[in-house]
């Protein structure tokens, strides 16, 4: 009993918060103005609680396991959710169904926690579903907008499709190995055609979730239609958690099929970087822009995943941490602008620095970090991804990745240029930044600058 409490404490705390929200909802209800700070405090407590009482162990007949590395991954996701609750304050306050939104969001997060901790295909599949279905509902939260409903529909359909593919893969794995326990599968893989086929189905399902080209087509529309809080959650938290379990699957379970997945990974990584970047070049809507840029970022993550060693997994986890700060800062600024002015086009950002210097600097820092320019943490993140990729002596591969960094710099600079250089007679008015949003942005800004310069963070992840 005691073991259950400590090993599953992240999940239990989260479940506690979910139930609390549920009681508030079915009870008297609360005004958004009072509920939102409460939720923010709860999420902060949840985040802090993630650092204490961490133990390693297995539960439920080896279906669920946790290690200090997994606990750290959960902390990263907690941090991201807390930041979203701060940065999207403007939108959250206005939404008429605030408790439901957080119920869905936290359920999805709970699913991700179980997914990262799963040591069994059954639990993995269940938790993946728990992590994706609520998100589709969240995408529909701008109830009066048609695009939002369209995005949700696209999301649920593609999600269902990828789940189907995954289930097919799972059944083939079970058929060819006779087990659904992940550690046992690894021992029974011998590289037969059936297993390779099963793996390809697995891979395709992950590719949907990570929006790897050519499985990325749902991404831009869903991102554009959804409210920014959902988009941020999708692009950062959801991507991050899937990247974590994807690595575990490749490194721990499908290790015997390395010769199969390495070339697949390289090809898809290059395709993802190139296509994500080329499409991002032409986007006008800031949300679509960030959608394609996040596709390109996944391509870079795959570079490190291909390294197939500890250096690669460290680099990916570090990058996701940096990415949470950078991308959430960008979404935070976009959210403030969209909520107060309704503007989402990059052209509307012209002359933004004159009227909103604080927001401009935060957005510029975030974009430079995404582009991988020092002194921001993104520089270290990108460099470590490429270093990990180079460990297998695939120099032409990292050359392609490095050249892609140039393309990405070009489109990130477009936004910076609009804010700082382009003239505009009617720039966006000085915007109000409420205290939680400001706090969130300062955390993100500090994270962007400090995560890289404080080198022990990387070493700490490496030591886990």
């Amino acid at each position: 009993m005691n073991e259950l409490l400590t090993l599953m404490k992240s999940e239990l705390v989260l479940t506690g918060i979910i139930f609390l929200l549920l009681f508030i909802k079915i009870g008297k209800g609360m005004k958004n103005e009072t509920l939102l700070p409460l939720v923010q405090v709860l999420l902060l407590v949840n985040f802090i609680f993630g650092f204490v009482l961490n133990k390693e162990g297995r539960l439920f007949g080896d279906m669920f396991y946790t290690t200090s590395l997994i606990a750290f991954q959960k902390n990263i996701l907690n941090l991201g959710v807390y930041l979203i609750s701060l940065l999207c304050t403007d939108w959250l306050k206005k939404t008429p169904h605030l408790p439901e939104f957080f119920l869905l969001l936290l359920s999805a997060l709970l699913g991700m926690f179980f997914m990262i901790s799963s040591a069994n295909l059954l639990i993995f599949y269940l938790s993946l579903e728990l992590a994706s279905i609520p998100v589709a509902a969240m995408a529909n939260f701008d109830l009066d907008k048609k695009r939002s409903a369209e995005g949700a529909m696209k999301m649920i359909l593609s999600s269902a499709f990828s789940s189907g593919i995954l289930l097919f893969g799972i059944s083939l794995v079970y058929g060819s190995t006779g087990t659904i326990s992940l550690p046992e599968i690894a021992g029974r893989l011998d590289g037969s055609t059936l297993q390779v086929l099963a793996f390809i189905f697995f891979f395709a399902a992950f590719a949907f979730k990570l929006s790897i080209v050519p499985f990325h087509l749902w991404t831009a529309d869903v991102y554009e239609g959804s409210p920014i809080a959902t988009t941020a959650f999708l692009s950062v938290i959801s991507k991050g958690s899937v990247a974590f379990i994807f690595m575990t699957m490749l490194y721990r379970v499908f290790q015997p099929l390395l010769d199969t997945w390495y070339p697949m990974l390289v090809i898809l990584s290059i395709a993802t970087m190139v296509i994500g970047n080329l499409f991002a070049l032409r986007q006008q809507n800031i949300k679509r822009f960030l959608a394609f840029s996040s596709i390109a970022q996944v391509g870079f993550i795959l570079v490190a995943v291909s390294s197939n060693d500890h250096m690669g997994s460290t680099a990916v986890i570090y990058f996701v941490l940096v990415y949470i700060f950078s991308n959430l800062a960008a979404f935070g600024v976009a959210s403030v602008i969209a909520e107060q002015t309704g503007k989402e086009r990059i052209d509307d950002f012209k002359g933004f620095y004159k009227t909103n210097p604080f927001l401009s600097w935060i957005l510029a820092l975030a974009l430079f970090s995404l582009a991988g320019v020092p002194p921001t943490a993104g520089f270290f993140g990108k460099l470590f991804l490429l270093t990990a990729g180079g460990a297998r002596a695939a120099y032409w591969f990292i050359t392609v990745a490095a050249l892609n960094m140039i393309i990405s710099l070009y489109y990130y600079l477009r936004v910076v240029r609009a804010m700082f250089m382009d003239k505009n007679d009617t720039p966006i008015e000085p915007l109000k930044i409420s205290a939680p949003v400001r706090l969130g942005m300062i955390i993100c800004g500090a994270g962007i600058i400090l995560t890289g310069l404080l080198s022990w963070i990387y070493d700490y992840i490496h030591s886990l």
Binding site: M311, T314, F368, V373, P374, P375, F379, L383, F384, L386, T387, G390, A391, A393, Y395, I398, T399, A402, L403, M405, I406, L409, Y410, L413, V416, R417, F420, M421, D422, S455, Y458, D459, H462, S463
Partner: protein, 492 residues
């Protein structure tokens, strides 16, 4: 001497600028900070000479090492040899002068000075780093300041130039990055220059990695045909921005070509020396002839920079000790000279609001000080004995001539011919603007330089004279360091 102060001083100055309350405070803090840096650089020079005089023959002095990212074997390792000391001195001169000539920047003053100081910080960090990763970090740190300085405070087609510069330099960085990772994995997981210089790297690997690193750093120092960002970037940048770009940033590339590419991969250097010589000879001649066609003073200096920087690369390609010493001297000399050149052009532009040679004439009467300085810097550019340009170029030629075969001699002669062309365009530009009758009545009421401009010009002129009249001290700094590099090439 603790080298950390060289990073600490500019960093603290930049942070102090951020919290300053008004424009006056910003300017004075920056000036005090930049003079502090100059003082530290001079102190470093003296301390370095003292150590050497006391027969401390270690390759790097004042070495320090702090572990960072231990799991990747990266450490904050720094130390200086003669080359670094000379470059740091150059940087500090240009930083002071840059701060002084920007005294009348009224648009977003705080941001301007902050970015300017950040640019200087990157250069200091770059020149003291002995770890490739940290070196690369400091090289890249200047991308944001450069882009914003040109894009916000620049003139002309500034957005285009800023974009072009940022992307081309990023391209160079991408090549450096790949080359750097190649070194890291072939030489036993280390970014440390001292460790890498002792590692055995097969000639085949060197032949692959050398072009990546040399071309990558070459983009920063206007290696032909990747020089195209130079004219646009320099002429669009604000005065201090041009000074920093041409005076400091381009030297980062030359330093990298030598310290990283040539020193760590000597076999690669030998293999590609011919190509380097051909490209730099083309750059020297092409730059000189292209300058003849320019009508805008800033473009004149930008193209002539392409030509002058070519001498540095030519010296490196010649692979003799004297030529490499000359290449380094040319870097220092050109850094001071071109900074002064851009400063003077800025002063003239601030008054006449034109940079077109044809629109000016007879400025000597109204602005005797500025015109005299303009004259001095022009003569330095065309290589008048007694000024720094002559010493540096002469050393390169002497070093190049030591290669006895026809190819090297022809290349040397071709490069030397450019001096004639330089004389033509420099004398023509100066003659038209400073001498002769005044062609524009509006220019009759112009005032001469202010105290800050005078101080900046005097500092840089002093630098030119110090190298030109008594080059011995610079030679003493550079030659032993060049010898170390040469020994790697000859395999001793």
């Amino acid at each position: 001497m603790n080298l950390l102060v060289l990073i600490g001083a500019p960093l603290l100055t930049a942070l102090a600028v951020l919290v300053a309350r008004n424009k006056q405070q910003v300017k004075w803090i920056s000036l005090a900070g930049s003079f502090l840096q100059l003082g530290l650089a001079i102190a470093l020079l003296l301390a370095f000479r003292q150590e050497r005089a006391a027969n401390n023959t270690a390759q790097m002095l004042f070495e320090q090492q702090y572990k960072l990212f231990q799991s990747l074997h990266i450490s904050f390792h720094f130390g200086v040899d003669g080359i670094s000391v000379a470059m740091i001195l150059l940087t500090s001169f240009v930083v002071v002068a840059g701060v002084l000539v920007s005294w009348n920047v009224e648009k977003m003053t705080k941001e301007f000075y902050f970015l300017l100081l950040l640019l200087g910080l990157g250069a200091y960090g770059f020149f003291i780093s002995l770890d490739l990763f940290i070196l690369f970090f400091f090289l890249e740190i200047s991308v944001i300041p450069k882009y914003l300085l040109i894009g916000i405070w620049g003139s002309g087609k500034k957005e285009y130039s800023a974009n072009k510069l940022a992307l081309m330099l990023m391209g160079g960085s991408a090549l450096i990055l790949v080359g750097m990772l190649g070194l890291y994995f072939t030489a036993g997981n280390s970014f440390d220059i001292m460790t890498l210089s002792k590692a055995t790297i097969t000639p085949e690997t060197q032949h692959i990695l050398f072009p990546l690193l040399f071309v990558g750093f070459g983009v920063f120092t206007a290696l032909f045909p990747l020089h195209t960002w130079v004219p646009d970037g320099h002429s669009s940048a604000p005065t201090a921005g041009s000074m920093f770009l041409a005076g400091i940033s381009m030297k980062l590339g030359g330093y990298g070509c030598l310290r990283v590419a040539t020193y760590l991969l000597p076999e690669g250097a030998k293999e590609y020396a011919t190509i380097i010589i051909v490209l730099s000879a083309i750059a020297i001649l092409y730059g000189a002839f292209a300058t003849m066609m320019q009508k805008d003073l800033k473009y004149i200096n930008a193209y002539s920079s392409v030509s002058h920087v070519g001498f540095s690369l030519l010296g490196i390609g010649m692979l003799t000790q004297t030529a490499i010493t000359g290449a380094l001297m040319q870097m220092v000399s050109h850094g001071v000279m071109t900074a002064l050149f851009f400063a003077v052009i800025g002063m003239i532009y601030d008054r006449t609001h034109t940079r077109m040679v044809a629109d000016m004439g007879g400025l000597m009467k109204q602005m005797p000080f500025i015109s005299t300085v303009f004259f001095i810097v022009g003569l330095c550019s065309l290589g008048l004995p007694g000024l720094s340009g002559f010493v540096a170029e002469m050393t390169v030629f002497v070093g190049s001539w030591q290669n006895a075969d026809a190819f090297h001699r022809v290349a040397t002669l071709a490069a030397a011919m450019s001096i004639v062309v330089t004389a033509v365009y420099i004398l023509r530009a100066i003659g038209r603007t400073v001498m002769g009758p005044n062609t524009n009545e509006a220019h009759l009421v112009l005032k001469d330089a202010n105290w800050n401009e005078k101080l900046a010009a005097i500092l840089l002129v002093a630098g030119i004279l110090a190298i030109g009249i008594a080059p011995g001290w610079l030679n003493d700094l550079l030659r032993p360091a060049a010898e170390v590099i040469m020994n790697r090439i000859t395999g001793q």
